[in-house]
């Protein structure tokens, strides 16, 4: 009896898995199929096109600003990664290695500021950028990203710096090294994981984020990938859906492969971040 029940349970599980597999894969296969499907109709009849074509990819690159959006996003991402990492490293170094007046308050302030993500003051950011003529410029967006990254990354980086034994620097100080030399020759090389984490995070953000670019960047030639693809769908003309599908595949494919490859590390990193708050 119990064995029969157990077998029924297993059969039930496989049935659920089959349904789930279908619902999981359907949107993914559909978007790949549509991007390869000839003509401008949304693919409905068959999951796999009989005569796959790359015409939508060609159209995407020739007739839309896709390449420009891609270049914009990479520019913003690179600049953000460099500026953010530099700012976070300098701040974390000061908080980790020096005891000065206002240190506790400074750390507390960062913790409090972290609770108020930048996009909550979208109204203020919009008006401030408008008044400083930084609206619709990449610089404006980069500055906002970099400012936001300080409160996000400093605690992580400081936590890592704290684990590096002080005796290493003390030995260097005795040999006559300055603060700057110890920072660049000892601390930074030993904190590569934390630096990679912060840099990678700031690099990925502009690819994924939508709300801040949507506020700051207004004209089509300034937009990021997320914005451009959104506008393709939001305009609701049939023909742009197939181009959108091609764009979606081009953006999603490398990121998906990257995420699948670093799966374990990424999921662990996200949970580790939650412990700190």
């Amino acid at each position: 009896m119990s064995k029969l029940l157990n077998n029924l349970v297993v059969i039930g599980i496989y049935a659920v898995f089959a349904v789930l597999l279908l619902t999981t894969m359907y949107p993914l296969i559909w978007v790949i199929g549509t991007s390869l499907h000839p003509g401008n109709t949304l693919m409905v009849s068959s999951m796999f096109p009989k005569q796959p074509t790359l015409e939508h990819y060609v159209e995407l690159i020739r007739n839309t600003d896709f390449v420009l959006w891609f270049r914009n996003t990479v520019t913003i991402a690179l600049a953000n990664a460099v500026i953010s990492t530099g700012l976070v490293a300098a701040t974390a170094y000061a908080f980790s290695r020096f005891r000065f007046k206002g240190r506790q308050q400074g750390l507390m302030a960062l913790l409090i500021l972290q609770m108020f993500p930048g996009f909550l003051s979208i109204m203020a950011i919009f008006v401030l950028l408008l008044q400083t003529k930084l609206l619709d410029t990449h610089l404006g967006l980069i500055l906002i990203y970099a400012g936001g990254s300080i409160s996000m990354g400093t605690w992580v980086m400081k936590g890592h710096f704290d684990t590096i034994p002080k005796s290493l620097e003390e030995a260097a100080y005795i040999d006559g090294a300055s603060h700057m030399v110890t920072l660049f020759k000892i601390i930074l090389p030993l904190s590569l994981p934390a630096i990679t984490f912060v840099a990678l995070n700031s690099f990925i953000t502009p690819f994924m984020d939508f709300i801040l670019p949507q506020i700051v960047l207004r004209s089509s030639d300034k937009m990021t990938l997320a914005q451009g693809l959104y506008n393709m769908v939001a305009t609701e003309t049939n023909s742009s859906f197939t181009t959108f599908a091609a764009g979606a595949v081009l953006v999603a494919l490398p990121i998906t492969i990257l995420y699948m490859y670093f799966q374990k590390y990424l999921i662990h990193g996200m949970t580790a971040g939650a412990d700190k708050g």
Partner: protein, 438 residues
Amino acid sequence: MMATTDARRHRTTAAIFSTVFIGLGQLYNKQYSKGLLFMIATQLFFWNYYPIVYKGIQGLITLGDVPTKIVAGNVIKGDHSIFMLIQGIIMIVLVLLFAGFYALNIYDAKKNGELRDKGKPVPGFLISLRQAKFRHFPYLLLLPALFFVLFVTVLPLVFNVLIAFTNYSAPHHIPDRNLVDWTGLRTFYDLFAQESWRTTFFGISVWNIIWAVASTLTVFFSGLVLALMVNHPKVKFKKFWRTMFILPWAVPQFISILVFRVLLNGSFGPVNDMLVKLGMSPVPWLSDPTMAKVTILIVNLWFSTPFLMALMSGVLTTLPRDLYEAAAVDGATGTQRFRKLTLPLVLAATAPILIMQFAFNFNNFNLIYMLTDGSPNHPDYYYAGSTDILISWIFKMTLNQSQFNMASAVSIIMFVFIAVFSLWNYRRMKTTREEDRI
């Protein structure tokens, strides 16, 4: 008595001198170069900035009183209230900086006076400069970050709060055509007293909370059930299933959301097309107010479950086996074991993640804006649709409607809500951490 006053003589005098006039206490302490430098810097700063600061702060108070006029076909520019507001805030920062320098000067005079009281020599200018370079190195490191945080985070925050107390909104108070005035709590009053604003605010808030709670709970249970199923001892090809089910997590979220927007489109979406072909009636996925909310939850389930599944799988393998054996000996049924053992243990292990997910979902602008854009329309709402949450409503009020004061009032209420929530979370975390230590 005499001795104690005498022992404190220099520090008191020096401090008083510096209070009266910046740099005087330093001169009294025979630190002539420093004292002169302080004096000159102060005078230069004061006389250069006094008029600007005075004007700036006055502008902050009045927000301008010369409106833009058209005289004989020519536009004569008036005051720009919002510029004046921003400048006023910056001027206040300047005043605070100056006050900080003033306090520092008194402190410095007192400290060096103290050295003299103790009969120690007062350091010369070059030596204190070298000391300062060493002692203030961390401040130097923090300067760029301070600058960024001040101008990118704090200034917008302050500005955002202040705007709520003005009438900065379309169509009648948009500079530089019109002036903006301070209106006190008028905006908040309107939000709660005017029928339409109130309906919108409470309607959206209720949906916002329901959404955050429901999305977190549904994802938690679906993740747990999926993990339990994949980890079932009789299930084969575990690795294959796990890889397949984790896939939606790896796809960039905005791409999946946009794909669903197309798939579920009412008029030409492939899903409805398929349903019709199968002889069923089409479902108003995104066009019916209630159905749209359900759809949002389902789509969220699609891309949020995998992460929780991966997480739960990890937690499930760490569950103590002996507890289950003891339960089996005591004759506990499967349901009992799940309810009394698995659920509480998993809940305890994943609580921080759940809170993080709740906070994230509460402000999940991307999902709402990209999937439904707040639609379908709600006839009773001001500038919002049925599925809008607070953050997307603020977005629409700011970018499409120029209702800046109302947007800012709503965001202040959200600030308070988030602050209370974070404080509670922070204290909860502190207590659990202390428990861990025992």
